[in-house]
């Protein structure tokens, strides 16, 4: 690594002008720029090995039935048929969508309201509020699940005891199908609202204050200005939040898995798509005993991939339509 100026521009500096440039002189790009290619190569190598190859490998795996130990059996397209008609995947899909809606909609609305309130000029303690709302983001889902499990436990949970003080019968939060979904949604709300609030704050800071000023002079109140200036101007941020929220929301696994102690909850109400895949992987984390079937799990993985791509396409469609209007 001695002469950098020479190595970066060999054909300019160190080669004396020759009457007939031989093809050998201009070395191939890969040789001339080997340092650059080497420096950026880790991403491409790792993405191929652990991103693309697994997708292809999953296709092969999904044509077999295999518990991981005995000889795999070739079953053709049966695993995909099982995904589509077996009922389990649709249960998991519906659970995922329901929990996503119950969690994500309040998150977006709450984060937006908090950001609007916190962006008022001269608000005292804005930094403290922001820090407090963001703090759950840095705690691990396992820690959150431990705390929420105790908050919502049946007889000794503080939530039920507080409800009892005002005369409400204890709610079996973690033992009813809806209760489980509500608690998971609350965990998501508590953990991610502050994160999206910060993104909305960045979006709000980009809105030209002159717009608000002229609207105020025209007699528009705070509510009208919110719906006619703030919301339309925030559209790119809102779409961004929805895209990132759906991609992570549809991969929900840790919250139900930890909250339900590795089980899937009453009538499988906490069984999400990723959870279903892990369950058939037959690993220690899968809790409830099912016969492991790596082929079926691989087919489930592909189904999740397709669902996510469809959701992303829908998001793009919404984005395009809202741009036109």
């Amino acid at each position: 690594m001695a002469e950098p100026a020479v190595t970066t521009r060999p054909d300019v500096t160190d080669v004396p002008p020759a009457p007939t440039p031989s093809p050998r002189r201009r070395r191939p790009a890969l040789v001339r720029h080997w340092r650059e290619y080497l420096a950026i190569s880790p991403f491409y190598v790792l993405f191929t090995a652990f991103g693309l190859v697994p997708l292809v490998y999953a296709v092969q795996l999904s044509t077999i039935s295999w518990d991981g130990l005995s000889d795999p059996v070739f079953v053709g397209l049966d695993q995909f048929r099982r995904v589509l008609t077996g009922g389990e995947f649709s249960v998991a899909l519906v659970n995922t969508v329901l929990i996503f809606l119950m969690g994500q909609v309040p998150v977006v609305i709450g984060a937006l309201v908090a950001a609007v309130l916190l962006s008022r000029p001269g608000l005292r303690g804005a930094g403290i509020y922001q820090t407090l709302f963001f703090l759950p983001q840095v705690t691990s889902v396992v820690a959150i699940a431990v705390v929420f499990q105790s908050l919502f436990s049946n007889s000794y949970g503080i939530v039920n005891r507080l409800l009892g003080m005002v005369g409400v019968e204890p709610v079996p939060w973690l033992e009813s199908a809806w209760g489980v979904k509500v608690v998971i949604a609350l965990m998501i709300i508590w953990q991610t609202t502050g994160y999206f609030m910060v993104i909305f704050l960045a979006g709000l800071a980009a809105i030209d204050p002159a717009l608000h000023e002229s609207a105020t002079l025209d007699g528009a109140g705070a509510v009208r200005r919110f719906f006619h200036i703030t919301l339309p101007m925030l559209r790119p941020t809102i779409i961004f939040v929805m895209v990132t929220g759906t991609i992570s929301g549809f991969q929900l696994f840790t919250q139900p898995q930890v909250l339900l102690n590795g089980g899937t909850g009453p009538s499988d109400s906490g069984l999400t798509m990723m959870f279903l895949q892990v369950r058939y992987l037959g690993s220690s984390g899968s809790g409830t005993q099912v016969l492991p079937d790596l082929g079926y799990a691989a087919a489930i993985g592909w189904a999740i991939f397709v669902v996510l791509v469809v959701v992303a396409a829908l998001n793009a469609q919404i984005l395009r339509r809202s741009r036109r209007s």
Binding site: E3, T8, E36, I40, P42, L132, E213, V278, S284, G301
Partner: protein
């Protein structure tokens, strides 16, 4: 891909604007009322943290007393003692520190290097390679866990930290972010000057690239540390030896052993596992929050 860049664009576009001077008179009226919903939300958001502290410092009888006791107690020492007895907690803490430091260091190094190269060097295929990288950010390849698990098994990586360190070592998002930062923060003249002084490829990166990217490196590091520290799915799938467990797994183990018997013990462990990141976040609060909108792509 316009989507990932959006908030960043917004911020840069916002900077040249004059400081806001909205008419203050209208706001004064409701000035104090704003604090009502904010304080209410603050109490709700702080309560789980507070409850964690209360339970970690009480014993079971105090928690189950009626009416419930809502102030921290004095039992943290004995609770945490049981944590140490009942689970490989100290191992797990050390393991988590090790995995987090190594994984984050690799991610930051590869992201800064590749981002700097993409921003400041010209070579055939550069723009196509970068476009491909951006496209991969929209592909949810992480959902195919079975084939990844099989690949790790074939490589002999099960029950080791390799699956937690290697596959995610070069983050597309990190490279994307570093490239943006390098384009904006490092002038070409600085590179030229370094080259004229005889600096080689590596020294240019060390003495021009790294210093120019330091703010972004700090923010990205905090994000990756947060992420690696709390990672759950892959440690759960690949680690079977409890001595190799990271903190989230050790907490699960603790919950299994004590959950029905003594929740205060579980809470004491949870509290200790949570504190390092809370402290880290409070130290780097400004850096993290001002860069959180860029960090959103991580998802």
């Amino acid at each position: 891909m316009s989507v990932p860049t959006m908030p960043t664009e917004h911020r840069t576009r916002a900077t040249p604007l004059p400081p806001r001077k909205r008419p203050m008179t209208r706001h004064r009226v409701g000035g104090y009322l704003v604090h009502v919903p904010l304080l209410l939300a603050a109490v709700l958001f702080a309560f789980p943290f507070y409850w964690l502290v209360v339970m970690a410092t009480s014993d079971t009888a105090e928690i189950f007393a009626s009416p419930p006791r809502l102030v921290p107690g004095l039992r943290f020492g004995s609770n945490f003692g049981e944590v140490l007895d009942g689970s490989p907690f100290l191992y797990a803490f050390t393991n988590s520190v090790f995995v987090t430091v190594v994984a984050s260091a690799l991610q930051v190094f590869f992201a800064a290097l590749a981002g700097f190269i993409f921003a400041k060097y010209r070579f055939p295929g550069r723009d196509q390679l970068f476009a491909a990288l951006v496209v991969t950010m929209a592909l949810p390849t992480g959902v195919a866990i079975v084939p990844n698990f099989q690949i790790y098994a074939n490589l002999g990586w099960l029950n080791s930290y390799w699956p937690l360190l290697v596959p995610g070592a070069a983050s597309a998002f990190g490279i994307f972010w570093m490239r943006q930062a390098a384009t904006a923060a490092i002038p070409d003249e600085l590179l030229e000057a370094a080259r004229v002084d005889g600096a080689g490829f590596w020294r240019v990166f060390r003495h021009v690239g790294l210093p120019g990217l330091s703010a972004t490196i700090a923010a990205f590091t905090v994000f990756q540390v947060m992420w690696n520290w709390n990672e759950y799915l892959w440690p759960l799938l690949v680690l079977s030896d409890t001595d190799l467990y990271t903190l989230p797994l050790a907490l699960q183990l603790l919950k299994g052993a004590y959950g029905a018997v003594d929740y205060s013990v579980v809470m004491a462990g949870t509290l200790v596992a949570t504190i390092p990141l809370v402290v880290l976040f409070l130290i780097f609060r400004r850096t993290v929050m001002s860069n959180a909108s860029a960090g959103a792509v991580k998802g």
